[in-house]
């Protein structure tokens, strides 16, 4: 089992009412497992995840990337800076 820190922002934070949490996942889990965890634990996040990017340790990544113990995973909804 590994533990990752999961960060929610903007619309996802509104939907889940969670800023961050620690999630336990099996070894070799990927971003897809994190997405499934979100849908299972926060169903309201489901519709938003289709347009959400994943960042691992402050770098944009892909949902099929394997995550590791201690990783910081950010779920990044469509951005609107500037």
């Amino acid at each position: 089992v590994i533990h990752v820190r999961l960060l929610f922002f903007a619309q996802l934070r509104d939907a889940t009412e969670v800023g961050e949490c620690v999630v336990s996942l099996p070894m070799n889990a990927s971003g897809e497992d994190i997405r499934a965890w979100c849908v299972a634990h926060h169903p309201s996040s489901g519709p938003l995840l289709a347009s959400t990017r994943i960042a691992i340790n402050e770098e944009y990544s892909t949902w099929d990337t394997v995550v590791h113990d201690g990783d910081e995973i950010a779920l990044v909804p469509p951005v609107s800076g500037g």
Partner: protein, 141 residues
């Protein structure tokens, strides 16, 4: 990370103007992103994943430097509440000639708007939180 581009302090364009000038540069271009007045909206509230936003902006500047002969580059972006008329972002570049200065400045703001993990939402006159902006095309700035 040596430069913190994201700040909760009021932006000052003179901070950019006071940067050391390279006498080989003939062009200085700056972009000031202002909060535009809109019905019932008195401010925008900016939120960001600050450490990643700083890293993303650092990479955007590096990408700009690889394309154009940039010397001085200045980027600051607000987090927190910015009233209508206030500055949300300041970008400044200096290059030998104007074409690359305009191009680089445009590139940097365009990339920030689509890549940096920054979000904004409306603040109404009564202080309540309004709608979130979900894409750059609908941005107020």
């Amino acid at each position: 990370m040596s430069v913190q581009y994201m700040t909760d302090e009021v932006l000052r364009v003179d901070a950019w103007h006071q940067m050391q000038c390279n006498q080989c540069d003939g062009a200085s271009v700056e972009f000031l992103g202002l909060v535009r007045a809109d019905e019932h909206v008195t401010a925008l509230e900016y939120d960001a994943y600050v450490p990643m936003a700083d890293r993303v902006i650092d990479k955007i500047i590096a990408a700009a430097r690889s394309q154009w002969p940039l010397h001085a580059v200045y980027v600051r972006h607000r987090v927190g509440r910015v009233p209508v008329g206030g500055m949300a972002v300041v970008i400044g570049v200096q290059t030998p000639h104007r074409k690359e200065a305009f191009a680089a400045c445009q590139f940097i703001i365009d990339e920030i708007k689509t890549q940096a993990p920054i979000w904004k939402r409306d603040i109404y006159a009564d202080g309540s939180l309004g709608q979130r902006h979900t894409c750059a095309e609908h941005a107020h700035v």
